[in-house]
């Protein structure tokens, strides 16, 4: 187990460096003046340009710049924005909001998706089964921003059940609609995967044995069937949590949640290169680590899987 973990962590290093370097190069090595429009209508004073060039090592080649950035990063310093605000600060204020939204989305998608999947997997080809199949198809096909707008318009504007946007306090009740929007596509995948998995294992020998032993149906489904069928669902949930924590640009934009996705989008638009790189570094790291955690969870869930 320890050696497996070590090998996987070592494998992460080149992927991490490759991804972050790619972003770094894209953001910083763009042809064009990095100071265009930074000082309002007029040209930036030479002093400012000289100071900034020195501060961000812009006169060196991209590899040296990247190496310096990484060195600072290892010390826990993400650097500063052009206006001098600490990027650590920005991430620290925005990330909790994203995490809250991600957790709500995960709870909603796991709750609804699993219930729908288990119910339809146990009784296939009924009315409920067809209903779930059609509605999951819709959820998979709808782009997130369309779902977001339609729900925002229906619940926020037309029926006025909730406020159309989320306040800065991020109350749980306000997050239900955005969480549903964010998790809608994954909810459909979870329902489908759970359904297939349950339907497949329903015919397995151990289920028949358990029923033959006279166990109550609740125990057969709850203990024997679910535990063996949940492995693919857990994979999906884990990778999804990684994606949820980084992919909320559209949802956070629609509902005006001050999270990491909205922050990174704003930084890209305003060309705050240092902020963009730092946030992407965090997101990539979270995503890669989540994938690792999912693989380790396999062994805990399924004793047949062993890592030596």
């Amino acid at each position: 187990m320890g050696r497996y973990l070590l090998r996987r962590l070592l494998q992460l290093v080149p992927v991490f460096i490759g991804t972050t370097f790619m972003i770094y190069a894209l953001v910083w090595a763009v042809p064009g003046d990095p100071f265009a429009g930074k000082c309002g209508e007029r040209r930036c004073p030479d002093q400012y340009i000289a100071f900034m060039t020195d501060k961000y090592h812009l006169d060196q080649n991209i590899f040296v710049q990247y190496a310096t950035y990484m060195q600072n990063l290892l010390k826990g310093d993400f650097g500063q924005t052009f206006s001098g605000r600490s990027i650590n600060d920005i991430i620290a204020t925005a990330y909790p909001n994203t995490l809250k939204l991600a957790v709500v989305a995960l709870l909603i998608e796991a709750g609804i998706g699993l219930t729908a999947g288990v119910l339809t997997g146990l009784r296939r080809n009924g009315f409920l089964d067809n209903l779930v199949l059609v509605s999951t198809l819709f959820l998979i096909a709808l782009p997130v921003f369309v779902v977001g707008f339609v729900l925002q318009w229906l619940f926020g504007v037309q029926w006025q059940l909730v406020k159309p946007t989320v306040s800065s306090e991020m109350r749980f009740s306000e997050l239900i609609i955005p969480g549903f929007v964010l998790g809608s596509a994954s909810m459909a995948y979870i329902a489908r995967v759970a359904r297939t998995s349950i339907a497949e294992n329903r015919r397995a020998d151990y289920v028949r044995t358990a029923i033959a032993k006279g166990l109550p149906m609740r125990r057969v489904v709850g203990v024997h069937l679910l535990r063996n069928s949940l492995i693919p669902v857990v994979t999906l949930l884990g990778t999804d949590l990684g994606a949820l924590m980084g992919g909320a640009i559209v949802t956070e934009g629609i509902f005006q949640i001050n999270g990491i996705g909205r922050q990174v989008y704003r930084s890209i638009v305003t060309k705050e290169s240092a902020t963009v790189v730092s946030i992407v570094v965090v997101l990539v790291l979270v995503y890669l680590l989540m994938n690792l955690v999912v693989d380790l969870l396999y062994a805990a869930l399924d004793p047949r899987i062993r890592y030596e």
């Binding site: 198809l137 819709f138 318009w153 504007v157 992919g247 640009i249 559209v250 934009g253």
Partner: protein
């Protein structure tokens, strides 16, 4: 079954044997047996598909959207680009079925003309992704060893980037505000960023199916007969690995239409005066309280287009997967 020596072999469909695609298996059979000739995987799938209403409905929609993209003037005589300000935010009426937007442009005409950008971008991106990912996958799976490890790690690098984030960074770099790219350059950029960020998925798919078929008997036999690498890959490996790719490709067209709209919506993809559903939805969001129909019609077209490709993919998958029969 009067003559078991031929009939029993020939008349049994064998969907579980993927090696029959395109093989001239029925050559030299008696005339009576030819009516029930053995079908390959694709032939079998086609027979299955023909009986599905879902397949016909989604294909009909797809044909409609492709026609719309190719000849928009067939569907609408209106002007999609120029409007009359006097009509601004006009409600749907007999003159303009879907109403007018804030510039007084006919929404129906715009929705029709918007199909072209979406369909062209999605189709070309899928072709690009298939070519890049498929080639990488075949090379990685067939060569194995260090080539495989290297390609897989490169794929991991691109896979680790969240899609929307990566696309925004790429597109603002090359297509940010202040650049003066032409319509076709912007389209090419959007296509390129979709391909760059999604090829690893196709590569993994292709690699695993190549790995699964590589050691099959017919490949070993072909090699023993002296077939070269190129011939083995083109004639034996590719036809047998194509089925999952076909399914994934169809579904991908749908999701790419959605992705293109998302990027245009965020303001980094296609830009006005190009007409596209994403741009229309993005423009509609400011008038959502006064004119919800501005949001509704482009969104409905977008969703229908995405749904028809996804449903077609589902139908093809069910037909191709013998386990589900």
């Amino acid at each position: 079954m009067s003559d078991p020596s031929t009939a029993s072999i020939v008349s049994t469909p064998r969907p579980e044997q993927p090696g029959e695609i395109g093989a001239p298996a029925n050559a030299g059979l008696p005339e009576s047996a030819r009516k029930e000739k053995p079908r390959g995987l694709l032939g079998d799938a086609w027979r299955d598909l023909r009986r599905k209403p879902l397949f016909w409905i989604s294909s009909a929609f797809i044909v409609l959207f492709v026609l719309m993209a190719a000849f928009p003037s067939l569907f609408s005589a209106g002007d999609a680009v120029n409007g009359t300000l006097a009509n601004s935010l006009g409600k749907p009426s007999a003159n303009a079925w879907f109403g007018y937007d804030v510039q007084g442009r006919d929404v129906y005409a715009r929705v029709i003309y918007g199909a072209r950008a979406s369909v062209v971008v999605a189709l070309l991106s899928v072709v690009g992704t298939m070519l890049v990912g498929g080639t990488m996958g075949v090379i990685a799976g067939y060569r194995g060893g260090w080539v495989d490890s290297l390609l897989s790690r490169i794929a991991d690098v691109f896979f680790g980037l969240p899609f929307v984030l990566g696309a925004i960074v790429i597109l603002t770099t090359f297509n940010g505000s202040g650049t003066s790219n032409s319509k076709w350059q912007i389209m090419a950029l959007v296509i390129a960023s979709l391909v760059v960020l999604t090829w690893p998925v196709v590569m993994r798919l292709m690699r695993s199916s190549v790995l699964a078929t590589k050691e099959a008997d017919y490949i070993v036999a072909a090699r023993a007969l002296g077939a070269g690498t190129g011939r083995i890959i083109l004639k034996h490996l590719l036809p047998n690995c194509l089925a999952p790719l076909l399914v994934y490709g169809t579904i991908m067209v749908g999701s790419f239409i959605g992705a293109e709209a998302t990027l245009s919506f965020l303001g980094v993809g296609l830009k006005s005066p190009v007409v596209s559903w994403g741009i229309m939805i993005s423009e509609a969001q400011n008038y959502i309280r006064v004119a919800p129909f501005l949001l509704f019609f482009p969104a409905a077209f977008l969703v229908t287009a995405v749904l028809s490709f996804v449903m077609l993919g589902e139908a093809v998958r069910e037909a191709l997967d013998p386990k589900l029969r």
